[in-house]
Subunit: 222 residues, 2 copies
Amino acid sequence: MTRALVPFDAARPNTRLAPVLSREERCAFAEAMLADVLGVLDDADGEPTVLSTVPLDDVPAVLANALVGVPVEVDDRPLTEAVNASLAAADPEPASPFAVVMADLALATPAAFRRLFDAADPAGADIVIAPGRGGGTNALVVRHPDFRVDYHGTSYRDHRRAARAVGASIETIDSFRLATDVDEPADLAEVLLHADGAARDWLLDAGFALAVEDGRVRARRE
Amino acid sequence: MTRALVPFDAARPNTRLAPVLSREERCAFAEAMLADVLGVLDDADGEPTVLSTVPLDDVPAVLANALVGVPVEVDDRPLTEAVNASLAAADPEPASPFAVVMADLALATPAAFRRLFDAADPAGADIVIAPGRGGGTNALVVRHPDFRVDYHGTSYRDHRRAARAVGASIETIDSFRLATDVDEPADLAEVLLHADGAARDWLLDAGFALAVEDGRVRARRE
């Protein structure tokens, strides 16, 4: 079992999706993605805890079901600060890793998370990073007590630097599914193409379908 | 050794990069990426052949070096037609796989190609696909004699359908490095972040550097 913290900003759903989804829709879609991530983590022998900016009351059934047995910690501080408080409390070490997984990884599969967790087994690296597109850090496993996160700017580079600074070894996981955080309209096509959970169902119910435009596949609303 | 066909359109370098690179620059950058892909394929025990729309004379030294010992077949037909002619001639079968690898996979590593080739060993699937972003097919390995490609539209879906139609088993490789074909300005940041070959050197020489804009990392020209 690998402890996995899933930060979730329920109050400010991703504004980059505003061109195609209303605020309420972005909330509902984010909740569906969180439900998917929790289910997949569970299938990968992860032990998820949600770190939410607000209490998760009155959520849709799909998320309520996924939250059964999952602790929810509420912390309204900015992402980096809140995650680092959890990291410090978790006291990760080689035999007791602690993962941080973004809530919008709608393409994640148990196999992808298993690759992440396996790379951080006691014989593996101290810090395992699954980079996201655009220099982000979509998932990481920490086995070193002194490592702290910084999600501002090019976090992939910053986390590699931070690992070296505390003498921690680093491994990178090469996964398209973990690299794809769904936060721009173009990403919705990836969900329709490669996912099969609640987020994909939500998009289909909302009227999205794949369409080829200008030689590229897009998710277009009917 | 896995035979690997690398289609290369020397005459029409990617127009989606036109906002940031001139035509001559796009040609030079494409040649640097091809050099990288050939070198990495070689390191992964691939046996590359370039399928070019025009003869590759008078190319920069970095590509000329990478082309030493690499056959170049010239075929000016559209991509799908040209690749299918090569596939038919190659007569792939379980013990004699044939790969098709895009020339703009500047993030590819030997480890990523090994995962692709290993999944297609005789005990593996008949068709192994590394999907690209936007529904494309960035690399595939064919071990079934009747499979043909179709790169129009959502080729990832179409190739899965085509495999089923000839009774071929399918496996998908989950690789960020193979999913990232470099054909849009935003992709240049991925090259600067994750590559270490001729394409990255070319971008640095051309004055590109990473910059954080609007919370996202971009490759910006000085």
